[in-house]
């Protein structure tokens, strides 16, 4: 169960105009702008649900995920995930969650993937039996047999992403945060990843919060979507209801684009 109530987070961004003169000026006097990344957002995700978290670039999706993972501390608001406050009880909290940041890597660059997995086993203190079962299952479902013994640096993006997802699930987390897990993947890899997430949710009732710009991800995975723009939650409801509002739209992408326009985000 993920409870988020009135969470706000802002960042200070240094800004200046282009050019040498401006650069010199900023040595003495620097202008900062406060960017409200999250503005009193609230939502509730019950156990076992898969939710698509969407919004344009810079809407605050990743910031939300980072707060839910205990990395960032919000200025205001309450978050409770299975009864814990992520940034206060970070170590206990992260033991029960898995996170995939599509734009970053958690695999060790210069050793075979399996070495990274074994290290994660020790870091999360996963018992041998559980680890072997999980590894076997993940290897089969994500088709990793061929690549487990390859150094991470020699993997293609799609292969690496499948390994990243496996790495986040070795400790059997109850909650999975996926921050753009299909970014840059080819069609085959995308389908494999989607298929896997569906199966995982079905079999283990893992709660999944997914951010993506790929509307087919959303269509395949999420029954419920939360739309965020300029740091505010604009819409929270089922995908089918939303579709009914746009009977004339041909594709999901067009529908979302007109949603963005409607909310001017």
């Amino acid at each position: 169960m993920i409870q988020v109530e009135n969470v706000s987070k802002s960042f200070r961004v240094a800004k200046r105009n282009a050019g040498l003169k401006e650069a010199v000026k900023s040595l003495w006097y620097r202008k900062y702008e406060v960017v409200q990344a999250l503005d009193r957002i609230s939502f509730l995700i019950p156990e076992g649900e898969m939710v698509g978290y969407i919004g344009p670039n810079g809407a605050g999706k990743s910031s939300t995920i980072k707060i839910l993972s205990g990395i960032l501390t919000p200025e205001e608001g309450l978050v409770s995930i299975n009864g814990r406050i992520p940034w206060k009880q970070r170590k206990e909290h992260v033991r029960e969650i898995g996170v995939v940041f599509g734009q970053r890597t958690q695999l060790w660059w210069d050793v075979p993937v399996i070495d990274s997995f074994c290290l994660l086993k020790d870091i999360y203190a996963v018992p041998n039996i559980e680890f072997n079962n999980n590894l076997e299952e993940l290897t089969a479902l994500l088709h990793l047999e061929e690549i487990l013994r390859t150094p991470a640096r020699q993997l293609s993006l799609g292969q690496r992403m499948r390994c990243e997802i496996a790495a986040s699930l070795l400790h059997s987390p109850k909650i999975l945060f996926l921050d753009e897990p299909t970014i840059g993947l080819d069609a085959v890899s995308k389908l494999a990843v989607r298929d896997f997430i569906l199966k995982l949710n079905e079999a283990k009732k893992t709660t999944v919060l997914l951010t993506t710009h790929d509307m087919q991800d959303i269509e395949a995975l999420a029954k419920r979507i939360i739309l965020i723009g300029k740091g505010r939650i604009l819409l929270d409801g089922s995908l089918s209801e939303l579709k009914e509002q746009f009977p004339n739209r041909e594709s999901l992408d067009e529908m979302i684009a007109s949603l963005y326009r409607r909310y001017q985000i």
């Binding site: 960042f11 970053r104 060790w108 870091i123 203190a125 753009e180």
Partner: protein, 267 residues
């Protein structure tokens, strides 16, 4: 604890893969060590009475320093960690049920140990074959060998704790160029890397000996050959313990402060 040991092992395994780097390192160490010995030999032959160390103690100092360079130098830093901080991969590190300070300090130990493991033996073997008083000799007594071991471990930990301060400072400065340049110039001089601390002028020398930098390599390298012995050795080791505790405490406090205001940039 197991998880931190695994991290250390992982870094160690990754580190010993780099054979060419180790080979180049060993050659550099021979050349550097030999050059230093030749220079000090000139001074020694010129004026033995003003020479502040025994020639043999100095040779031991130089060869040990070359062989164990990776353990004691402040500037053996891991680019991975800087990259993690400046590019935001630190997000993944914070998703682990681990203490970030411990994770990084053990990683560092792994890197340094792997480098030293590949480089020390070839340096020591060749240095041991050189004629006295220019080669590496065994410590005069089993007692000084034991004290050296203790002091070397502390010196290693002091160097690692100091490099942790540099990593943590990256959270505040976003760039390592400044700190790295500072380390090369100032720490090398104050730790006894450029010239052994006994060669510094009186007045300055006494102060430098008390600084944390002297605890990194000055203490173990001089205890080995008996240049520091008895109550002086005990004092040096106590000072090492003090600086180790102080630097770990400072590193932990600064890291906690940095994490409370962390911003993970981009995406």
């Amino acid at each position: 604890m197991q998880k931190y040991i695994s991290l250390l092992r992982m870094k160690f395994i990754a580190g010993i893969q780099y054979r060419a780097a180790a080979f180049a390192g060993i050659l550099t160490q021979y050349a550097w060590g030999g050059m230093e010995i030749l220079i000090y030999r000139c001074f020694y032959l010129e004026n033995q009475t003003d020479f502040p160390m025994q020639m043999q103690a100095l040779s031991n100092y130089v060869w040990l320093q070359q062989g164990l360079l990776a353990l004691f130098m402040a500037w053996i830093l891991e680019n991975d960690i800087f990259e993690m901080i400046t590019h935001g991969n630190v997000a993944y590190e914070l998703c682990r049920p681990c203490d970030l300070y411990n994770m990084w300090i053990f990683r560092n130990m792994g890197v340094r140990l792997s480098r030293a493991a590949l480089r020390c033996l070839p340096v020591f073997v060749v240095a041991a074959l050189l004629p006295a008083p220019y080669g590496l000799k065994l410590p005069p007594t089993p007692g000084s060998a034991g004290l050296f071991l203790l002091s070397a471990i502390l010196g290693f930990l002091n160097a690692v704790a100091f490099s942790m301060l540099i990593y943590v400072s990256t959270f505040y400065t976003f760039s390592i160029q400044g700190t790295r340049a500072f380390c090369l110039a100032v720490v090398d001089l104050l730790s006894g890397k450029v010239i052994p601390i006994p060669f510094l002028p009186d007045g300055i020398r006494q102060i430098v000996e008390l600084l944390p930098f002297a605890s990194m390599q000055n203490a173990p390298l001089r205890i080995y050959g008996g240049d520091i012995a008895g109550p002086q050795a005990a004092q040096a080791i106590l000072l090492q313990c003090f600086w180790l505790a102080a630097m770990i405490l400072a590193g932990r406090i600064l890291l906690r402060k940095a994490l409370s205001r962390i911003v993970v940039q981009g995406g």
